[in-house]
Amino acid sequence: MRLYLELARTSFQQQFAYRAATLAGLFTNSIFGVMIASIFIAFYRSQGNDTVASWTPDQTVTLIWINQSLLMTVFIWGWWEVTRSIQSGAIVSELLKPFDYFSYWLSRDLGRAVAHFLLRGIPTFTVGAIFFDLLRPAGVAAAFGFLGSVTLAVMISFCLRFLSNLAGFWVLDHRGVSMMYVAIFNFFSGMLAPLDFLPDTVQTIARFLPFQAVLMVPNEIYLGRMPIWQGLGVQAIWIVLLTLLVKRILRAGEQKLVVQGG
């Protein structure tokens, strides 16, 4: 346990070394937040500022800013460290350590997520709150429920990323996997619009996929649209299922490990 805490701590500290990247990222998230929120505000205005698919204008704009703020915390795409490690052969040194490979990366990722929540999440949301009327959490319980839900969302997102990284055992180039993953995630997670805006069939499919548990669920808990325990329960189920799947595939991958570069 001590080891996993130490790993989380070092990875947390590491994030503070990238000052320029943090500022650039904050800038990018804010620009996208302003852009997407403005499009929705224009859209709502054309509808006479009525609710659309049961979402009020303020709720939708808040979701957009929560998504932009959580983007780096849950770290949706652009993480290929395990694939790179498989392909460079560095995975050999990692497998040679007496720790659980999955827990090793998970603890590092949790440390990273805490740092990103502080460095990217809160500042981005603050920028949003300055320019738009963002809603507060639906209550004290919803606020704590949201924090718990974000923690679980990081773990789900981590499992999904880890899974797509494991493709590296079988394919040599991760770009194909990467493109598919980004497209699927953006579509089914509620990243660009509340899921309720999508056609019914697509919504139903999305509700049975893990991606909505990464962004939609924390948003719905924050806004008081979903009972807290229901949201956390769904997320917990996904964590269990995905962890089992990851371990299974990891074992298969290790069996057929072909160490690149001697």
Binding site: R2, L3, E6, L7, T10, Q14, A17, S88, G89, A90, V92, S93, L95, L96, K97, P98, F99, D100, Q255, L257, V258, V259, G261, G262
Partner: protein, 328 residues
């Protein structure tokens, strides 16, 4: 003596996709991929006793690294068995990991972004080394490997030699029984090489660590290993002590003799079992079979051509011996 590493008929076969040449070939590859089976290691067997240092050598692609990876448990062999420190490597990898240290000269096991000292401290937790033991091992390594000046430098900024020393320190913090070293001196300058060799010799002598070492640098072998295992095309072609290998393969010795005056040599040399290699002024070099002639025999024969001022005998270099094995 207890056996620390035991390999029995270890084999590893890989499937390798092959690319067809040309445009049409590349397009065909989209639909049906051709592959071939490569046997990297073929029925390799050997025992290494506790406290031994064994040199595991062979040309590039001979199967050295693959063998080591199987013995650490990262690769599962296609067939065969092995026991290392009482464990079956590939099925008890994590338990074995606690008992072994591994250094790959070509890559680091330190964390790229962290200062060396933090990497080492993280490893203390990875291996659950008690504080007291960690301090002792750390102090010993820091002193012998002279880590002091770059302990606070991030690993990515270290020179190759510094990084290698850091990696060695990292591999022994948890008192491993077995140390695998895959080309530990590759790309290093002479001072760093010597430094590392002395350190390994010290570790073996003082802590009784069993060492399996692959290298292309035969000076590593001469300094450290009494026994060498030579592998080529996945097969073991020699396993034994270095001196015996020399006797077995290098049957010819060379004598260099300086005469007082340039001698006039004749074909009598040949009939007596010597072979003239070259002559420049007073200096003559002859080769002779160690099984047929002794050095005094040769010297006596040469005195007939003039009075001798000086002489020396050369044993064949390990390089030439190894080359001889590869060719065979």
């Amino acid at each position: 003596m207890t056996t620390q590493i035991q390999a029995r008929d270890l084999s590893k076969r890989f499937e390798r996709h092959t690319r067809r040449a040309g445009m049409v070939g590349a397009m065909r590859g989209l639909f049906d991929r051709a592959s071939e089976t490569v046997t990297a290691v073929d029925a390799v067997s050997f025992d290494v006793a506790r406290g031994e240092i064994v040199g595991y050598i062979g040309p590039n692609g001979a199967g050295k690294s693959t063998t080591i990876k199987m013995l650490t448990g990262v690769l599962t062999p296609s067939s065969g068995e092995a026991t290392v420190a009482g464990f079956t490597p590939w099925s008890e990898r994590r338990k074995l990991a606690q008992q072994i240290g591994v250094v790959f000269g070509q890559r680091t096991q330190l964390w790229w972004d962290l200062p060396l000292i933090e990497s080492l401290e993280l490893l203390q937790h990875v291996y659950r080394v008690p504080e007291q033991r960690f301090r002792e091992n750390f102090t010993m390594a820091a002193e012998l490997l002279e880590l002091g000046s770059f302990l606070n430098t991030p690993v990515r900024q270290l020179s190759l030699g510094q990084r290698m020393r850091g990696d060695l320190a990292a591999a022994l913090l948890h008192d491993p029984q077995v140390l695998y070293l895959d080309e530990p001196t590759i790309g290093l300058d002479l001072v760093a090489k010597t430094n590392i060799r002395e350190f390994l010799a010290h570790l073996n002598r003082e802590a009784g660590v069993t060492i399996l070492l692959t290298t292309h640098d035969l000076a590593d072998i001469e300094r450290l290993c009494k026994r060498i295992i030579v592998i080529d095309h996945g097969h073991i072609v020699h396993d034994g002590d270095l001196a015996r290998l020399r006797d077995k393969i290098a049957t010819e010795r060379t004598m260099t003799v300086d005469f007082d005056d340039p001698p006039t040599l004749d074909d009598q040399l040949e009939t007596r079992g010597m072979r003239l290699l070259d002559q420049t002024g007073q200096r003559v070099r002859v080769a002779f079979e160690r099984s047929r002639l002794t050095a005094p025999d040769v010297l006596t024969a040469l005195t007939e051509y003039g009075s001798i001022r000086d002489m020396s005998i050369e044993e064949p270099s390990i390089e030439s011996i190894i080359q001889h094995i590869y060719k065979a």
